[in-house]
């Protein structure tokens, strides 16, 4: 049962991710990304990390993607301008980078380690993905990154206010 659910939503998340980069229409791309985020949230539920799953949907699918969609709709992009072109320089560079990344990955890990097959999965640690577990990690082991992120967000908020004020005058 769980395996079936896993394969369905793993496939959906990969399909959604592929659709994000293949659609010409930016709104369709954004909605595909929502599908990916939702499917990943289901995978978190299968790991019994309900809190992470709920936050994933609440923050990413529910808030950030709405703002994305909002902006994309305002920009009114023309699908023709976004048409795929294989002669594009950016495309060639990204193909090169992907090849480089995967070669480096396999060279560093070795084939067997890169694709660990079979065997029972290691059990998730106590309190994995629960409110208590995440909270404890955030305020002990990862306190510094957490605070730094807060400072970054604060800086972004101040930047937004500054830009909005300048327009006004």
């Amino acid at each position: 049962m769980e395996t079936v659910v896993f394969y369905i939503f793993a496939a959906l998340s990969v399909a959604g991710a592929l659709l994000v980069i293949t659609y010409n229409n930016p709104v369709s791309s954004a909605v595909s990304l929502v599908l990916t985020l939702f499917s990943t949230a289901v995978l978190f539920v299968l790991l019994l990390a309900h809190f992470v799953a709920a936050i994933q949907i609440l923050v990413y699918a529910g808030a950030i993607m709405i703002l994305f969609l909002f902006t994309v709709m305002f920009l009114n992009l023309h699908p023709e301008a976004l048409r795929f072109d294989a002669r594009n320089m950016a495309f060639k560079v990204s193909i090169f980078l992907v090849v480089l990344l995967f070669t480096g990955y396999f060279a560093a890990m070795g084939f067997n380690k890169a694709f660990p097959g079979g065997g029972a999965p290691s059990p998730s640690p106590e309190g994995f993905g629960t409110v208590e577990g995440v909270g404890r990690l955030l305020f002990t082991g990862y306190l510094l990154p957490f605070e730094l992120t807060s400072v970054l967000i604060l800086a972004a908020i101040i930047g937004v206010v500054a830009i909005a004020k300048r327009r006004e005058s």
Partner: protein
């Protein structure tokens, strides 16, 4: 045993669907009758006694109306948007506990009695689940407005997105006080924590913010910016007809039921009948049907409150809506959080609340 539990869950889902959709149908009638009463009219009273068959007639009419899909729309999203709106509203109800539950052997079919909870899914992050699903419901409005490819629909969709995101913040912040007090995100734990005193009394500020934000989240008057008739025709569902329009309509009423359940569970004691004193010694494990009656009664009272407010207050202007959300409700929610945090510390210090 697994199959029995699965069967019971399926029965509960079917029952919830039936009850909620019937309630939605009768809410439309209630809205028209109550508004008529408030405006000294009669309202629809021709179909059946007191107009009780009117929702049925409306349903038949909706189904048999021509289902227009204008040629200029983005067809996949145009069709998906109303479904998305209705589904997200419906599945949010899965974690609402209307009572504790009861033990049964299914009329002697089972050897050992099993405990049936009056709730479909008992999630330990229940309240976050409702908020998460609620935040997804914006897509129905936004995509519906965008896919219609008309100026008024688009304006309605964008207004809906901006408004719902703004008020989601105030709403989320207003319930942190409740969560901090309870120390749990499970709705059942939150209700149990109110056995001595409803949260509406110590957290009156949070309660006010939550109710105001709830009106905005459901796009009900005085916050119905996305579909303000005098300004943008009918907003995001201007281009919709027949059952697709009805689905948007049903989504709005289902959303009302969801937020009413939330207000009752978070601030008005859930299944506890009076603000103080719990059940006065009545054994609710034995009389298990009493809590659902109290809970549903309160929800119905709040649904009436929604209708009452709609026909009492005029619509806000758009900038007033934004100002109210960001400059009034948000600071009040922060103030509520600070007051409640201090209160929790004081109560814990004197041993009235478990640390």
């Amino acid at each position: 045993m697994v199959w029995v539990e699965l069967g019971i869950t399926l029965v509960k889902i079917a029952l919830l669907f039936f009850v909620v959709l019937t309630l939605v149908a009768y809410l439309t009638l209630a809205e028209r009758r109550v508004s008529a009463f408030m405006q000294d009219r009669l309202g629809p009273n021709r179909v059946g006694p007191f107009g009780f068959l009117q929702p049925l007639a409306d349903g038949v009419k909706f189904i048999f109306k021509e289902d227009l899909i204008p040629s200029h729309v983005n067809k996949p999203f145009f069709i998906a948007a109303p479904a998305f709106a209705l589904v997200t509203a419906l599945i949010a109800l899965a974690v609402v506990p209307i009572g504790k539950g009861f033990e049964t052997t299914l009329f002697g079919l089972l050897s050992a009695p099993i405990f049936v909870k009056l709730q479909i899914a008992d999630l330990n992050v229940g309240i976050l689940y409702v908020l998460a699903i609620g935040s997804l419901s914006v897509y129905g409005v936004v995509l519906g407005g965008w896919a219609s490819n008309s100026k008024y629909s688009f304006l309605g969709g964008l207004r809906g997105a901006a408004q719902m995101i703004s008020y989601e913040l105030a709403m989320g912040l207003s319930i942190i006080g409740v969560i901090a007090w309870t120390g749990s995100l499970r709705l059942e734990d939150i209700i149990e924590a109110q056995s001595k005193c409803w949260f509406a009394i110590p957290q009156i500020l949070g309660c006010i913010v939550f109710v105001a934000a709830a009106f905005a989240e459901t796009n009900r008057l005085p916050f119905d910016m996305p579909e303000a008739e005098p300004e943008i025709v009918a907003g995001y569902h201007t281009e919709y007809s027949s059952m697709k329009f009805a689905m948007f309509f049903m989504a709005e009423y289902t959303h009302m039921i969801v937020v009413s359940c939330l207000v009752v569970a978070l601030f008005f004691g859930g299944w506890y009948p009076l603000p103080f004193g719990g059940w006065f010694g009545i054994d609710i494990d034995k009389y298990w049907f009493l809590p659902p009656i109290v809970f549903i009664g309160k929800v119905l009272a709040f649904l009436f409150f929604f209708i009452w407010v709609r026909f009492t207050l005029p619509r806000f202007r758009y900038d007033q809506v934004m100002n109210l959300g960001w400059k009034v409700l948000f600071p009040i929610a922060v103030a509520n959080l600070i007051i409640v945090s201090i209160a929790i510390l004081v109560l814990q210090n004197y041993g009235y609340l478990k640390a």
